[in-house]
Protein backbone atom coordinates (compact mmCIF):
# COMPACT_ATOMS: atom_id res chain seq x y z
CA UNK A 1 0.00 0.00 0.00
CA UNK A 2 1.22 3.47 -0.85
CA UNK A 3 -0.14 6.37 1.15
CA UNK A 4 0.51 9.84 -0.18
CA UNK A 5 -0.40 12.44 2.40
CA UNK A 6 -0.50 16.16 1.59
CA UNK A 7 2.50 16.05 -0.74
CA UNK A 8 3.68 19.39 -2.12
CA UNK A 9 6.72 20.19 -4.24
CA UNK A 10 7.78 23.75 -4.94
CA UNK A 11 10.65 24.91 -7.10
CA UNK A 12 11.31 28.45 -5.94
CA UNK A 13 7.96 30.15 -6.26
CA UNK A 14 6.26 27.67 -8.59
CA UNK A 15 4.25 24.84 -7.09
CA UNK A 16 4.70 21.78 -9.26
CA UNK A 17 2.78 19.32 -7.10
CA UNK A 18 0.16 20.90 -4.91
CA UNK A 19 -1.07 19.15 -1.75
CA UNK A 20 -1.77 15.77 -3.30
CA UNK A 21 -3.22 13.00 -1.13
CA UNK A 22 -4.09 9.54 -2.41
CA UNK A 23 -3.95 5.93 -1.33
CA UNK A 24 -2.92 3.15 -3.67
CA UNK A 25 -4.23 -0.15 -2.38
CA UNK A 26 -1.85 -3.11 -2.36
CA UNK A 27 -1.78 -5.24 -5.51
CA UNK A 28 -3.60 -2.63 -7.60
CA UNK A 29 -2.67 -0.37 -10.48
CA UNK A 30 -3.12 3.37 -10.20
CA UNK A 31 -2.79 5.25 -13.46
CA UNK A 32 -1.87 8.94 -13.46
CA UNK A 33 -3.07 11.01 -16.39
CA UNK A 34 -2.88 14.73 -17.04
CA UNK A 35 -1.55 17.32 -19.43
CA UNK A 36 2.16 17.79 -20.02
CA UNK A 37 3.79 19.61 -17.13
CA UNK A 38 0.99 18.82 -14.69
CA UNK A 39 3.45 17.24 -12.24
CA UNK A 40 2.96 13.52 -12.93
CA UNK A 41 6.67 12.68 -13.15
CA UNK A 42 7.47 14.80 -10.13
CA UNK A 43 4.81 13.05 -8.04
CA UNK A 44 6.14 9.66 -9.14
CA UNK A 45 9.73 10.59 -8.30
CA UNK A 46 8.80 11.69 -4.82
CA UNK A 47 7.68 8.13 -4.08
CA UNK A 48 11.20 6.73 -4.58
CA UNK A 49 12.75 9.99 -3.35
CA UNK A 50 14.50 10.97 -6.52
CA UNK A 51 12.81 14.25 -5.64
CA UNK A 52 12.42 15.33 -2.03
CA UNK A 53 9.00 16.84 -1.31
CA UNK A 54 8.71 20.35 0.10
CA UNK A 55 6.10 19.07 2.53
CA UNK A 56 3.97 15.99 3.13
CA UNK A 57 4.59 12.32 3.84
CA UNK A 58 4.67 9.20 1.69
CA UNK A 59 4.29 5.82 3.38
CA UNK A 60 5.00 2.44 1.86
CA UNK A 61 3.23 -0.37 3.69
CA UNK A 62 2.88 1.93 6.64
CA UNK A 63 6.54 2.96 6.83
CA UNK A 64 7.67 6.49 6.02
CA UNK A 65 9.76 6.30 2.85
CA UNK A 66 12.43 8.36 4.59
CA UNK A 67 13.07 5.63 7.14
CA UNK A 68 15.69 3.93 4.93
CA UNK A 69 18.55 5.49 2.93
CA UNK A 70 17.42 6.70 -0.50
CA UNK A 71 19.51 4.22 -2.47
CA UNK A 72 18.17 1.26 -0.48
CA UNK A 73 14.61 2.46 -0.97
CA UNK A 74 15.18 2.77 -4.71
CA UNK A 75 16.58 -0.75 -5.01
CA UNK A 76 13.31 -2.06 -3.62
CA UNK A 77 11.15 -0.04 -6.01
CA UNK A 78 11.13 -0.70 -9.75
CA UNK A 79 11.41 2.47 -11.79
CA UNK A 80 10.91 2.71 -15.53
CA UNK A 81 12.09 6.22 -16.29
CA UNK A 82 10.41 8.39 -18.92
CA UNK A 83 12.34 7.86 -22.18
CA UNK A 84 13.97 4.57 -21.03
CA UNK A 85 17.32 6.08 -19.81
CA UNK A 86 19.33 2.95 -20.64
CA UNK A 87 23.05 2.96 -19.86
CA UNK A 88 24.65 3.44 -23.28
CA UNK A 89 27.94 1.80 -22.25
CA UNK A 90 26.33 -1.39 -21.00
CA UNK A 91 24.80 -4.22 -22.97
CA UNK A 92 21.12 -4.98 -22.89
CA UNK A 93 21.71 -7.91 -20.52
CA UNK A 94 23.88 -5.76 -18.22
CA UNK A 95 21.25 -3.02 -18.25
CA UNK A 96 18.51 -5.40 -17.19
CA UNK A 97 20.78 -6.89 -14.51
CA UNK A 98 21.46 -3.48 -12.89
CA UNK A 99 19.42 -3.80 -9.70
CA UNK A 100 20.03 -7.55 -9.13
CA UNK A 101 23.78 -6.84 -9.36
CA UNK A 102 23.42 -4.01 -6.84
CA UNK A 103 21.51 -6.37 -4.58
CA UNK A 104 24.27 -8.95 -4.88
CA UNK A 105 22.31 -11.77 -6.49
CA UNK A 106 24.47 -14.67 -7.62
CA UNK A 107 25.41 -14.97 -11.28
CA UNK A 108 23.17 -17.87 -12.24
CA UNK A 109 20.12 -16.30 -10.70
CA UNK A 110 20.80 -13.02 -12.51
CA UNK A 111 21.29 -14.76 -15.84
CA UNK A 112 18.12 -16.79 -15.43
CA UNK A 113 16.15 -13.66 -14.55
CA UNK A 114 17.55 -11.64 -17.46
CA UNK A 115 16.79 -14.44 -19.92
CA UNK A 116 13.30 -14.82 -18.53
CA UNK A 117 12.51 -11.12 -18.89
CA UNK A 118 14.04 -10.84 -22.35
CA UNK A 119 12.02 -13.81 -23.53
CA UNK A 120 8.89 -12.28 -22.02
CA UNK A 121 9.52 -9.09 -23.97
CA UNK A 122 10.24 -10.99 -27.17
CA UNK A 123 13.91 -10.14 -27.30
CA UNK A 124 15.97 -13.26 -27.98
CA UNK A 125 18.54 -13.30 -25.13
CA UNK A 126 21.27 -14.65 -27.37
CA UNK A 127 20.72 -12.12 -30.12
CA UNK A 128 19.88 -9.03 -28.08
CA UNK A 129 21.61 -9.70 -24.75
CA UNK A 130 25.10 -8.70 -25.94
CA UNK A 131 23.89 -5.69 -27.94
CA UNK A 132 24.31 -2.09 -26.86
CA UNK A 133 21.22 0.09 -26.44
CA UNK A 134 21.96 2.19 -29.53
CA UNK A 135 21.74 -0.98 -31.59
CA UNK A 136 18.03 -1.35 -30.74
CA UNK A 137 14.90 0.30 -32.10
CA UNK A 138 13.07 2.82 -29.93
CA UNK A 139 10.41 0.28 -29.03
CA UNK A 140 12.99 -2.37 -28.13
CA UNK A 141 14.85 0.13 -25.96
CA UNK A 142 11.65 0.91 -24.13
CA UNK A 143 10.95 -2.77 -23.47
CA UNK A 144 14.47 -3.17 -22.09
CA UNK A 145 13.78 -0.18 -19.83
CA UNK A 146 10.66 -1.87 -18.49
CA UNK A 147 12.51 -5.19 -18.08
CA UNK A 148 15.22 -3.39 -16.09
CA UNK A 149 12.56 -1.99 -13.76
CA UNK A 150 11.06 -5.44 -13.25
CA UNK A 151 14.35 -7.29 -12.82
CA UNK A 152 14.56 -7.50 -9.04
CA UNK A 153 10.90 -8.50 -8.67
CA UNK A 154 9.95 -5.32 -6.80
CA UNK A 155 6.73 -5.06 -4.82
CA UNK A 156 6.21 -1.52 -6.01
CA UNK A 157 6.67 -0.46 -9.60
CA UNK A 158 6.75 3.14 -10.86
CA UNK A 159 6.34 3.44 -14.60
CA UNK A 160 6.61 6.75 -16.43
CA UNK A 161 5.01 6.46 -19.87
CA UNK A 162 6.55 3.01 -20.36
CA UNK A 163 4.72 2.09 -23.56
CA UNK A 164 4.79 5.40 -25.41
CA UNK A 165 7.14 4.28 -28.20
CA UNK A 166 5.55 0.88 -28.85
CA UNK A 167 3.44 0.05 -31.88
CA UNK A 168 -0.20 -0.86 -31.12
CA UNK A 169 0.34 -4.62 -31.36
CA UNK A 170 3.39 -4.76 -29.11
CA UNK A 171 1.83 -2.19 -26.81
CA UNK A 172 -1.25 -4.35 -26.28
CA UNK A 173 1.01 -7.33 -25.67
CA UNK A 174 3.18 -5.36 -23.22
CA UNK A 175 0.07 -4.20 -21.35
CA UNK A 176 -1.26 -7.76 -21.07
CA UNK A 177 2.16 -8.99 -19.89
CA UNK A 178 2.31 -6.29 -17.26
CA UNK A 179 -1.19 -7.15 -16.05
CA UNK A 180 -0.19 -10.83 -15.89
CA UNK A 181 2.99 -10.03 -13.93
CA UNK A 182 1.00 -7.76 -11.63
CA UNK A 183 -1.53 -10.53 -10.96
CA UNK A 184 1.13 -13.18 -10.43
CA UNK A 185 3.38 -11.25 -8.06
CA UNK A 186 0.78 -8.95 -6.55
CA UNK A 187 2.81 -5.91 -7.54
CA UNK A 188 1.52 -2.46 -6.72
CA UNK A 189 1.95 -0.28 -9.78
CA UNK A 190 1.74 3.43 -10.45
CA UNK A 191 1.74 4.11 -14.14
CA UNK A 192 1.87 7.48 -15.89
CA UNK A 193 0.37 7.70 -19.35
CA UNK A 194 -1.04 10.11 -21.89
CA UNK A 195 -3.17 7.39 -23.41
CA UNK A 196 -6.70 7.40 -21.98
CA UNK A 197 -7.38 4.02 -23.55
CA UNK A 198 -4.43 2.57 -21.64
CA UNK A 199 -5.54 4.30 -18.43
CA UNK A 200 -9.04 2.82 -18.60
CA UNK A 201 -7.73 -0.59 -19.57
CA UNK A 202 -4.94 -0.87 -16.99
CA UNK A 203 -6.08 1.18 -14.05
CA UNK A 204 -7.91 -0.10 -11.01
CA UNK A 205 -8.08 3.60 -10.28
CA UNK A 206 -7.25 6.66 -12.33
CA UNK A 207 -5.74 9.84 -10.92
CA UNK A 208 -6.24 12.97 -13.00
CA UNK A 209 -3.74 15.77 -12.45
CA UNK A 210 -4.03 19.36 -13.59
CA UNK A 211 -1.44 22.04 -12.80
CA UNK A 212 -0.04 20.12 -9.84
CA UNK A 213 -3.42 19.35 -8.29
CA UNK A 214 -5.12 15.98 -8.07
CA UNK A 215 -8.51 16.82 -9.52
CA UNK A 216 -10.08 13.35 -9.43
CA UNK A 217 -9.02 9.95 -8.18
CA UNK A 218 -11.56 7.22 -8.78
CA UNK A 219 -12.37 3.96 -10.53
CA UNK A 220 -12.35 4.22 -14.34
CA UNK A 221 -16.11 3.74 -14.59
CA UNK A 222 -16.64 6.54 -12.09
CA UNK A 223 -14.27 8.91 -13.94
CA UNK A 224 -16.12 8.17 -17.19
CA UNK A 225 -19.58 8.46 -15.69
CA UNK A 226 -19.03 11.40 -13.36
CA UNK A 227 -16.05 13.50 -14.39
CA UNK A 228 -15.30 15.90 -11.57
CA UNK A 229 -14.73 18.87 -13.85
CA UNK A 230 -14.90 19.91 -17.46
CA UNK A 231 -11.12 19.38 -17.55
CA UNK A 232 -11.53 15.70 -16.68
CA UNK A 233 -14.37 15.44 -19.17
CA UNK A 234 -12.20 16.83 -21.95
CA UNK A 235 -9.32 14.60 -20.96
CA UNK A 236 -11.35 11.38 -21.07
CA UNK A 237 -12.75 12.45 -24.43
CA UNK A 238 -16.52 13.02 -24.30
CA UNK A 239 -17.23 11.32 -27.62
CA UNK A 240 -15.31 8.20 -26.61
CA UNK A 241 -16.94 7.73 -23.25
CA UNK A 242 -19.61 5.12 -24.13
CA UNK A 243 -17.02 2.94 -25.83
CA UNK A 244 -14.53 3.29 -22.97
CA UNK A 245 -17.26 2.34 -20.57
CA UNK A 246 -18.02 -0.77 -22.62
CA UNK A 247 -14.34 -1.67 -22.80
CA UNK A 248 -14.38 -2.04 -19.01
CA UNK A 249 -16.97 -4.83 -19.10
CA UNK A 250 -16.63 -8.46 -20.15
CA UNK A 251 -19.01 -10.09 -22.63
CA UNK A 252 -19.72 -12.74 -19.97
CA UNK A 253 -21.47 -10.10 -17.87
CA UNK A 254 -23.74 -8.96 -20.72
CA UNK A 255 -24.98 -12.39 -21.75
CA UNK A 256 -28.71 -12.79 -22.39
CA UNK A 257 -30.64 -16.00 -22.84
CA UNK A 258 -31.23 -17.24 -26.33
CA UNK A 259 -29.30 -18.34 -29.37
CA UNK A 260 -27.70 -16.58 -32.31
CA UNK A 261 -26.15 -17.48 -35.63
CA UNK A 262 -22.48 -17.38 -36.59
CA UNK A 263 -19.08 -17.64 -34.92
CA UNK A 264 -19.22 -17.38 -31.13
CA UNK A 265 -17.33 -14.67 -29.20
CA UNK A 266 -15.43 -15.70 -26.04
CA UNK A 267 -16.99 -14.69 -22.73
CA UNK A 268 -13.92 -12.82 -21.53
CA UNK A 269 -13.69 -10.57 -24.60
CA UNK A 270 -14.55 -6.94 -23.85
CA UNK A 271 -18.09 -5.72 -24.46
CA UNK A 272 -16.66 -3.07 -26.72
CA UNK A 273 -15.15 -5.70 -28.98
CA UNK A 274 -18.49 -7.49 -29.05
CA UNK A 275 -20.34 -4.32 -30.05
CA UNK A 276 -17.75 -3.58 -32.72
CA UNK A 277 -18.18 -7.08 -34.12
CA UNK A 278 -21.97 -6.76 -34.10
CA UNK A 279 -21.95 -3.37 -35.83
CA UNK A 280 -19.37 -4.43 -38.36
CA UNK A 281 -21.14 -7.65 -39.33
CA UNK A 282 -24.55 -5.99 -39.28
CA UNK A 283 -26.05 -8.68 -37.06
CA UNK A 284 -28.37 -8.03 -34.12
CA UNK A 285 -26.90 -10.76 -31.87
CA UNK A 286 -23.80 -12.91 -31.38
CA UNK A 287 -23.48 -16.28 -29.64
CA UNK A 288 -21.16 -16.32 -26.59
CA UNK A 289 -18.98 -19.25 -25.57
CA UNK A 290 -17.24 -19.97 -22.28
CA UNK A 291 -13.54 -20.68 -21.84
CA UNK A 292 -14.36 -24.40 -22.26
CA UNK A 293 -16.13 -23.73 -25.58
CA UNK A 294 -19.64 -24.38 -24.22
CA UNK A 295 -22.33 -21.87 -25.32
CA UNK A 296 -23.27 -19.33 -22.64
CA UNK A 297 -26.04 -17.49 -24.50
CA UNK A 298 -25.85 -14.39 -26.70
CA UNK A 299 -25.12 -10.68 -26.65
CA UNK A 300 -27.29 -8.22 -28.51
CA UNK A 301 -26.78 -4.76 -29.92
CA UNK A 302 -29.69 -3.44 -27.86
CA UNK A 303 -28.35 -4.94 -24.65
CA UNK A 304 -24.87 -3.49 -25.19
CA UNK A 305 -26.17 -0.07 -26.20
CA UNK A 306 -28.06 0.12 -22.91
CA UNK A 307 -24.86 -0.70 -21.06
CA UNK A 308 -23.01 2.07 -22.90
CA UNK A 309 -25.36 4.72 -21.51
CA UNK A 310 -24.29 6.91 -18.58
CA UNK A 311 -24.90 4.97 -15.37
CA UNK A 312 -27.75 6.44 -13.35
Amino acid sequence: MIEIEGITKRYDATTVVDDVSMIIEPRTIAVIVGTSGSGKTTLLRMINRLVEPTSGIIKLDGADNRSVPGYELRRSIGYAIQGHGLFPHRTVAQNIATVPVLLGWDKDRIKARVDELMTLYQLDPREFGPRYPHELSGGQQQRVGVARALAAEPNVLLMDEPFGALDPIIRTKAQEDLLAIQKRFGTTIILVTHDMEEAVHMGDKIAVMDAGKLVQYAKPAEILANPASSFVETLVGASERPFRLLSLGRVRDAVENGAAEGEAIPGDASQRDALAELLWSGRPALPVKGADGKPLGRVTVDGLVKRAARPA
Binding site: N48, L50, Y71, E72, L73, R74, R75, S76, Y79, I81, Q82, G83, H84, G85, L86, F87, P88, H89, T98, V99, L102, Y132, P133, H134, E135, R148
Partner: protein, 249 residues
Protein backbone atom coordinates in the same frame (compact mmCIF):
# COMPACT_ATOMS: atom_id res chain seq x y z
CA UNK B 1 41.57 -1.39 -50.57
CA UNK B 2 41.78 2.04 -48.91
CA UNK B 3 41.16 0.71 -45.41
CA UNK B 4 44.56 -0.90 -44.93
CA UNK B 5 46.53 2.04 -46.32
CA UNK B 6 46.54 4.16 -43.13
CA UNK B 7 47.35 1.08 -41.11
CA UNK B 8 50.25 0.27 -43.40
CA UNK B 9 51.59 3.83 -43.11
CA UNK B 10 51.45 3.63 -39.31
CA UNK B 11 53.16 0.27 -39.32
CA UNK B 12 55.88 1.65 -41.60
CA UNK B 13 56.38 4.59 -39.23
CA UNK B 14 56.71 2.26 -36.24
CA UNK B 15 59.24 0.07 -38.05
CA UNK B 16 61.19 3.13 -39.16
CA UNK B 17 61.21 4.60 -35.66
CA UNK B 18 62.34 1.39 -34.01
CA UNK B 19 65.02 0.86 -36.64
CA UNK B 20 66.24 4.41 -36.19
CA UNK B 21 66.59 4.35 -32.43
CA UNK B 22 68.08 0.86 -32.29
CA UNK B 23 70.42 1.00 -35.28
CA UNK B 24 70.86 4.65 -36.18
CA UNK B 25 74.00 3.76 -38.11
CA UNK B 26 71.90 2.48 -41.00
CA UNK B 27 70.60 5.97 -41.61
CA UNK B 28 73.97 7.67 -41.64
CA UNK B 29 74.16 8.08 -45.43
CA UNK B 30 70.78 9.84 -45.44
CA UNK B 31 71.78 12.45 -42.87
CA UNK B 32 75.35 12.83 -44.07
CA UNK B 33 74.66 15.82 -46.39
CA UNK B 34 73.42 17.84 -43.38
CA UNK B 35 76.80 17.87 -41.65
CA UNK B 36 79.93 19.84 -42.41
CA UNK B 37 83.63 19.37 -41.68
CA UNK B 38 83.28 15.63 -41.06
CA UNK B 39 81.27 16.20 -37.89
CA UNK B 40 79.54 13.08 -36.47
CA UNK B 41 76.26 12.37 -38.24
CA UNK B 42 74.60 10.27 -35.56
CA UNK B 43 74.35 11.48 -31.96
CA UNK B 44 77.38 10.04 -30.21
CA UNK B 45 77.14 11.18 -26.60
CA UNK B 46 74.60 8.55 -25.58
CA UNK B 47 72.29 5.92 -27.01
CA UNK B 48 69.25 7.23 -28.89
CA UNK B 49 67.26 4.27 -27.63
CA UNK B 50 68.00 5.04 -23.99
CA UNK B 51 67.17 8.71 -24.50
CA UNK B 52 63.90 7.83 -26.24
CA UNK B 53 62.87 5.49 -23.44
CA UNK B 54 63.79 8.04 -20.77
CA UNK B 55 61.91 10.72 -22.69
CA UNK B 56 58.84 8.50 -22.80
CA UNK B 57 59.19 7.64 -19.13
CA UNK B 58 59.28 11.31 -18.16
CA UNK B 59 56.17 12.04 -20.21
CA UNK B 60 54.40 8.98 -18.85
CA UNK B 61 55.04 9.82 -15.21
CA UNK B 62 54.01 13.45 -15.68
CA UNK B 63 50.85 12.51 -17.60
CA UNK B 64 49.75 9.85 -15.14
CA UNK B 65 50.20 12.31 -12.28
CA UNK B 66 48.40 15.08 -14.18
CA UNK B 67 45.56 12.71 -15.07
CA UNK B 68 45.07 11.56 -11.50
CA UNK B 69 45.07 15.09 -10.12
CA UNK B 70 43.01 16.66 -12.92
CA UNK B 71 40.34 13.94 -12.93
CA UNK B 72 40.16 13.89 -9.14
CA UNK B 73 39.77 17.66 -9.13
CA UNK B 74 37.07 17.51 -11.80
CA UNK B 75 35.21 14.84 -9.84
CA UNK B 76 35.46 16.90 -6.68
CA UNK B 77 34.09 20.11 -8.16
CA UNK B 78 31.23 18.33 -9.94
CA UNK B 79 29.90 16.84 -6.66
CA UNK B 80 27.30 19.00 -4.92
CA UNK B 81 29.62 19.46 -1.93
CA UNK B 82 32.53 20.69 -4.06
CA UNK B 83 30.68 22.93 -6.49
CA UNK B 84 31.85 26.10 -4.78
CA UNK B 85 35.47 25.23 -5.56
CA UNK B 86 34.83 25.13 -9.29
CA UNK B 87 35.91 28.73 -10.08
CA UNK B 88 38.96 28.47 -7.82
CA UNK B 89 40.20 25.20 -9.28
CA UNK B 90 39.57 26.50 -12.80
CA UNK B 91 41.80 29.51 -12.26
CA UNK B 92 44.50 27.46 -10.53
CA UNK B 93 44.68 25.03 -13.41
CA UNK B 94 44.65 27.91 -15.88
CA UNK B 95 47.66 29.47 -14.18
CA UNK B 96 49.45 26.15 -14.53
CA UNK B 97 48.89 26.32 -18.26
CA UNK B 98 49.77 29.98 -18.81
CA UNK B 99 52.96 29.85 -16.78
CA UNK B 100 55.70 29.12 -19.35
CA UNK B 101 57.38 25.75 -18.73
CA UNK B 102 60.80 27.37 -19.04
CA UNK B 103 59.93 29.65 -16.13
CA UNK B 104 58.72 26.66 -14.13
CA UNK B 105 62.05 24.96 -14.78
CA UNK B 106 63.96 28.04 -13.67
CA UNK B 107 61.94 28.27 -10.48
CA UNK B 108 62.00 24.56 -9.74
CA UNK B 109 65.73 23.99 -10.06
CA UNK B 110 66.70 25.90 -6.92
CA UNK B 111 64.03 23.98 -5.01
CA UNK B 112 64.51 20.42 -6.25
CA UNK B 113 67.85 20.52 -8.03
CA UNK B 114 68.80 19.62 -11.60
CA UNK B 115 67.66 16.52 -13.44
CA UNK B 116 64.30 14.91 -14.09
CA UNK B 117 62.40 16.42 -11.17
CA UNK B 118 62.00 20.01 -12.40
CA UNK B 119 61.01 18.67 -15.81
CA UNK B 120 58.34 16.49 -14.26
CA UNK B 121 56.96 19.45 -12.34
CA UNK B 122 56.81 21.60 -15.48
CA UNK B 123 55.16 18.88 -17.55
CA UNK B 124 52.72 18.05 -14.79
CA UNK B 125 51.54 21.64 -14.41
CA UNK B 126 51.39 22.17 -18.14
CA UNK B 127 49.42 18.98 -18.73
CA UNK B 128 46.73 19.58 -16.11
CA UNK B 129 44.53 21.99 -18.01
CA UNK B 130 43.47 19.96 -21.06
CA UNK B 131 42.66 16.93 -18.91
CA UNK B 132 40.82 18.97 -16.30
CA UNK B 133 38.76 20.91 -18.84
CA UNK B 134 37.80 17.77 -20.73
CA UNK B 135 36.96 15.84 -17.57
CA UNK B 136 34.80 18.76 -16.50
CA UNK B 137 33.02 18.83 -19.85
CA UNK B 138 32.52 15.08 -19.76
CA UNK B 139 31.14 15.00 -16.24
CA UNK B 140 28.80 17.96 -16.69
CA UNK B 141 27.30 17.00 -20.05
CA UNK B 142 26.16 13.50 -19.19
CA UNK B 143 22.67 12.66 -20.48
CA UNK B 144 20.42 13.65 -17.56
CA UNK B 145 18.00 10.75 -17.72
CA UNK B 146 20.81 8.19 -17.79
CA UNK B 147 22.23 9.60 -14.57
CA UNK B 148 18.71 9.74 -13.13
CA UNK B 149 18.15 6.12 -14.15
CA UNK B 150 21.31 5.22 -12.21
CA UNK B 151 19.93 7.00 -9.15
CA UNK B 152 16.54 5.42 -9.71
CA UNK B 153 18.09 1.94 -9.77
CA UNK B 154 19.51 2.58 -6.31
CA UNK B 155 23.16 3.25 -7.04
CA UNK B 156 25.06 5.13 -4.35
CA UNK B 157 27.02 8.26 -5.25
CA UNK B 158 30.23 6.25 -5.58
CA UNK B 159 28.57 3.57 -7.71
CA UNK B 160 27.11 6.21 -10.01
CA UNK B 161 30.54 7.77 -10.41
CA UNK B 162 32.44 4.57 -11.12
CA UNK B 163 29.77 2.63 -13.01
CA UNK B 164 28.12 5.36 -15.03
CA UNK B 165 29.62 8.84 -14.93
CA UNK B 166 33.30 8.01 -15.46
CA UNK B 167 32.74 5.32 -18.12
CA UNK B 168 30.42 7.67 -20.00
CA UNK B 169 32.87 10.56 -19.92
CA UNK B 170 35.86 8.32 -20.67
CA UNK B 171 36.07 9.23 -24.37
CA UNK B 172 36.13 12.95 -23.59
CA UNK B 173 38.67 12.53 -20.77
CA UNK B 174 40.84 10.45 -23.09
CA UNK B 175 40.73 13.35 -25.55
CA UNK B 176 42.19 15.59 -22.86
CA UNK B 177 44.90 13.08 -22.02
CA UNK B 178 45.79 12.83 -25.69
CA UNK B 179 46.27 16.59 -25.97
CA UNK B 180 48.26 16.63 -22.77
CA UNK B 181 50.58 13.81 -23.89
CA UNK B 182 51.36 15.45 -27.20
CA UNK B 183 52.12 18.77 -25.55
CA UNK B 184 54.32 17.01 -22.99
CA UNK B 185 56.24 15.04 -25.62
CA UNK B 186 57.30 18.28 -27.25
CA UNK B 187 57.80 20.22 -24.03
CA UNK B 188 59.93 17.49 -22.43
CA UNK B 189 62.76 18.40 -24.82
CA UNK B 190 63.43 21.62 -22.92
CA UNK B 191 64.00 19.52 -19.80
CA UNK B 192 67.46 18.85 -21.15
CA UNK B 193 68.39 22.44 -20.37
CA UNK B 194 68.29 21.43 -16.70
CA UNK B 195 70.07 18.11 -17.30
CA UNK B 196 67.04 15.84 -17.62
CA UNK B 197 67.78 12.86 -19.86
CA UNK B 198 65.39 13.44 -22.75
CA UNK B 199 65.62 13.68 -26.51
CA UNK B 200 66.13 17.41 -26.02
CA UNK B 201 69.75 16.53 -25.33
CA UNK B 202 70.23 15.58 -28.98
CA UNK B 203 68.64 18.80 -30.21
CA UNK B 204 70.63 20.97 -27.80
CA UNK B 205 73.86 19.21 -28.74
CA UNK B 206 73.02 19.97 -32.35
CA UNK B 207 72.41 23.61 -31.57
CA UNK B 208 75.65 23.95 -29.60
CA UNK B 209 77.82 22.32 -32.26
CA UNK B 210 75.83 23.73 -35.18
CA UNK B 211 75.01 20.18 -36.30
CA UNK B 212 71.82 20.12 -38.35
CA UNK B 213 71.77 16.30 -38.45
CA UNK B 214 71.54 16.10 -34.63
CA UNK B 215 68.73 18.65 -34.49
CA UNK B 216 66.83 16.84 -37.19
CA UNK B 217 67.12 13.36 -35.69
CA UNK B 218 66.09 14.57 -32.24
CA UNK B 219 63.16 16.47 -33.69
CA UNK B 220 62.07 13.63 -35.95
CA UNK B 221 62.01 11.04 -33.17
CA UNK B 222 59.89 13.31 -30.99
CA UNK B 223 57.56 14.05 -33.90
CA UNK B 224 57.18 10.37 -34.79
CA UNK B 225 56.41 9.50 -31.15
CA UNK B 226 53.83 12.27 -30.99
CA UNK B 227 52.12 11.19 -34.20
CA UNK B 228 51.96 7.54 -33.17
CA UNK B 229 50.73 8.15 -29.64
CA UNK B 230 48.18 10.73 -30.79
CA UNK B 231 46.95 8.26 -33.33
CA UNK B 232 46.77 5.35 -30.91
CA UNK B 233 44.87 7.32 -28.29
CA UNK B 234 42.48 8.65 -30.94
CA UNK B 235 41.69 5.08 -31.91
CA UNK B 236 41.01 4.10 -28.28
CA UNK B 237 38.74 7.12 -27.94
CA UNK B 238 36.81 6.30 -31.10
CA UNK B 239 36.36 2.73 -29.92
CA UNK B 240 35.06 3.87 -26.54
CA UNK B 241 32.72 6.42 -28.12
CA UNK B 242 31.42 3.98 -30.70
CA UNK B 243 30.53 1.46 -28.06
CA UNK B 244 28.25 4.07 -26.54
CA UNK B 245 26.59 4.89 -29.82
CA UNK B 246 28.16 8.31 -29.91
CA UNK B 247 29.95 9.63 -32.93
CA UNK B 248 33.55 10.45 -32.14
CA UNK B 249 34.06 14.17 -32.47
Amino acid sequence: MKAWLPLLLRLALVVLLVAFVTSPGWFEPLLKPLTENNAPVIYNQGSLLTLTLLHLRTVLIATVAATIVAVALAILVTRPAGAEFLPLSRSLVNIGQTFPPVAVLALAVPAVGFGEKPTLIALFLYGLLPIFENALTGLTTLPANVVEAARGAGMTGWQRLTKVELPLSAPIILGGIRLSVVISLATATIGSTVAAKTLGEVIIAGLLSNNLAFILQGGLIVAALAVLIYDGLSAVERYAARRMGREAE
